[in-house]
């Protein structure tokens, strides 16, 4: 530790150095800011480290976990390479899943189509033209069984990216496994479930905010009792960032969402250590390298502190912020798409140096369409190159102690608490979301960024600079066969005809009655409805009769 006298001398020397080097306008004409607008100094030094570095960063696997949640980190086990996939019907996606597992992927991640995300069956009028376009269409238990056909559900960890109807999809999944003789306690995976960020950013909803929060809490409670290896929620900053937020907003809104779910579960009567270890996170890896690494490190520290100090968590596992990372779709350009391979590699490296537990790398064609098989392979290979060739996974938190990264980590933390204060003054996150506060902050940041790109202050290769070559943009893209929609509708209708309609109707009626009782956990009723082959749309509609639906006030 440097003494005060040393520090004073260091600072003086630095100031002199800065005057001599930059005193006469020798800097490039550039925005010296992160992509989020945070100032970046020409040089960081010992004077920028936290007052007590040892306490602020500690050791990996030790409080406050700045350097990583596990002691051995990637020396013990590499991150899970988990590519998000889904399109067409359950058969097509099952084939893509098996392709990915054959190519060395170590976990599965399911993308659902828009009607499934919104709780509409494939034959709903609003589903027209959308079935299987941006993910897989799952209407029924049978679709879920087809999706995971020949995949060992007791050995592969499965992630499902769905939120508003998450409880229904989980019911399909649990019953599909049950019919193969696999009990819920042996299922390993994650379902996204993070409804607050839907109202904030991704905008796929079924119900108003309050009943939606009840459903989330029902799932957390049910999973705590029946699915010890399952993560009932993945608290997500990814979509917040894609919608245009800054890094600090992504960090603050995501952590505040997470703390809100903890508050709700505790209010339900769960002890924090009964469920906190099963909460997981999902962050974006954007192109501003050091800011991203700092964001992950700050996130771990803040989460551990809040869980320990505010919620009194005693089990160490409750303090660990484990997270999945996906590279930034929004950083990819339609212009010169091969350049996206480079962007993705740099972003993935930030995720790895930030200590992620699992990673999805985007494919280079994703600014244009869903990825082709070749593009997905390159994306997966990118992770494998980082893991096996670069050596970055051989030492833990290699940037720990870096003047710049530690200062940036502190700055991220400070910005996060500034937002926490603002949100608390609005009455908490649920109230802030209802009032559109995070939504407005994000829209403002997105607009500011667009202005910077259009003025040329911020350069994006192929978009506002280095445009030579844009005329050769054509690459093969994935086309979704329009015949998949009628095929899926036919499958759905066949099930409606074949099943015991009286039994289905009975379980749906029980679901309605239970929904009207505020203290009844809805998971067992959804499982019964899934066993009776009720469709997703039917379950959502039954709940909407009690809960109502949601419409956002259109502001810009």
């Amino acid at each position: 530790m440097a003494t005060h006298v040393d520090m004073g001398q260091t600072r003086e020397r630095l100031e002199r150095w800065q005057r001599e080097v930059f005193g006469r306008g020798t800097e490039r004409d550039e925005l010296f800011e992160t992509i989020s607008g945070e100032p970046v100094k020409p040089l960081y030094s010992e004077a920028d480290l936290p007052a007590d570095t040892e306490a602020a960063i500690g050791l990996p696997g030790e409080y406050p976990y700045t350097r990583g949640v596990y002691g051995s980190m990637y020396r013990g086990r590499l991150w899970t390479m988990r590519q998000f996939a889904g399109y067409g019907t359950a058969q097509e996606t099952n084939a893509r899943f098996r392709y990915l597992l054959d190519h060395g992927q170590t976990g599965l991640s399911t993308a659902f189509d828009m009607p499934s995300l919104m709780g509409h069956d494939s034959d709903h009028p609003r589903s027209l033209g959308e079935v299987g376009r941006e993910g897989v269409a799952i209407d029924t238990l049978q679709d879920m069984e087809t999706l995971f056909d020949h995949i060992p559900l007791d050995r592969v960890s499965v992630s499902m990216t769905i939120n508003a109807p998450a409880a229904i999809m989980l019911a399909f999944y649990v019953v599909a496994a049950e019919r193969r003789g696999i009990p819920p306690e042996r299922l390993d995976g994650t379902i996204q479930t993070d409804i607050l960020k839907e109202y904030i950013a991704q905008k796929e909803w079924c119900f108003p905010v309050d009943p939606a929060m009840r459903l989330v809490t029902d799932m957390i409670e049910w999973c705590a009792r029946h699915m010890p290896r399952w993560h009932p929620i993945s608290i997500s900053g990814y979509h917040i960032r894609e919608a245009g937020s800054t890094a600090a907003q992504e960090l603050a809104f995501t952590l505040k969402d997470g703390l809100t779910y903890v508050e709700y579960a505790v209010a339900r009567g769960l002890a924090v250590d009964e469920f906190a270890a099963r909460l997981s996170f999902f962050f974006n890896a954007h192109i501003d390298f050091f800011e991203e690494i700092a964001k992950y490190r700050a996130a771990r520290r803040i989460w551990a502190r809040e869980l320990r100090e505010r919620f009194g968590a005693r089990d160490e596992r409750s303090l660990l912020m484990r997270f999945h990372t996906q590279t930034a779709g929004v950083s990819l350009t339609a212009q010169q798409p091969l350049n996206n391979i480079v962007r993705t590699a740099i972003e993935a490296l930030a995720g790895v140096l930030g200590g992620t537990q699992s990673l999805h790398t985007n494919s280079f064609d994703e600014a244009l369409a869903l990825p082709t098989e070749e593009a997905v392979r390159v994306a997966l290979r990118t992770q494998q190159i980082i893991a096996s060739e670069t050596g970055v996974a051989n030492t833990i938190d290699p940037l720990g102690g870096s003047y710049h990264v530690e200062a940036m980590t502190d700055l991220m933390e400070q910005r996060c608490y500034e937002y926490f204060d603002k949100i608390d003054r609005l009455g908490g996150m649920v109230e802030a979301v209802k009032r559109g506060f995070p939504q407005r902050e994000i829209a403002d940041a997105a607009f500011r960024y667009q202005r910077e790109v259009e003025s040329g202050a911020r350069k994006v290769v192929g978009v506002n600079s280095y445009r030579e070559g844009n005329e050769h943009d054509g690459i093969p893209i994935l086309r979704i066969d329009p015949q998949l929609e009628p095929k899926q509708i036919a499958r759905l209708r066949a099930i409606r005809e074949r099943r015991d309609g009286t039994a289905t109707a009975r379980t749906l009626q029980q679901l309605r009655l239970a929904a009207a009782e505020e203290d009844e956990n809805l998971m067992p009723l959804l499982l019964d409805a899934a066993r009776a082959e009720a469709t997703e749309g039917e379950m959502v509609a039954a709940l909407q009769e009690v809960f109502g639906s949601f419409r956002e006030a259109p502001v810009f």
Partner: protein
């Protein structure tokens, strides 16, 4: 400068379909408003019927459709068909979002004035709408 050109251009910015990607639509809405146009933003998850109704009620000079769900070849023709059913031929229709290049000629043949893909500049869009929808109506 005649009276007709001083009238504010009225633009409906609409999000048809089920996708929630409204970053682009909101940025365009702000940019058009900052350029002095009257902007009506429909909000998310609109059916073609709702969009056409809004265009009529608001007496729109232009309708900008933003779609990132891949359903554009179903939803855009439907909007154009409904406009034409209502006898509305003078509303400028533009499309923005992730539209594959191969689909652009077909959309234009249907009557879409322009398709703006990822990376399009808002000034370019403002200029296009001002030139093509400005001063037409009295």
């Amino acid at each position: 400068m005649g009276a007709a050109t001083e009238k504010k251009i009225r633009v409906v910015v609409a999000k048809p379909g089920l996708d929630g990607h409204d970053r682009g639509a909101k940025i365009i809405a702000r940019a058009l408003r900052d350029a002095g146009m009257e902007v009506i933003y429909t909000g998310l998850h609109q059916t073609p019927e709702q969009i056409v109704e809004t265009a009529i009620q608001e007496d729109a000079d232009a309708v900008g459709l933003s779609i990132l769900s891949g359903a554009h070849m179903t939803l855009v023709p439907r909007v154009i068909e409904l406009l034409s059913d209502q006898g509305i031929e003078d509303v400028l229709v533009t499309v923005g979002g992730t539209i594959p290049a191969d689909d652009v000629p077909q959309l234009k043949a249907l009557g879409v004035a322009e398709v703006f893909g990822p990376g399009a500049n808002t000034q370019e869009i403002v200029d296009f709408i001002r030139e093509r929808a400005g001063g037409v109506k009295t």
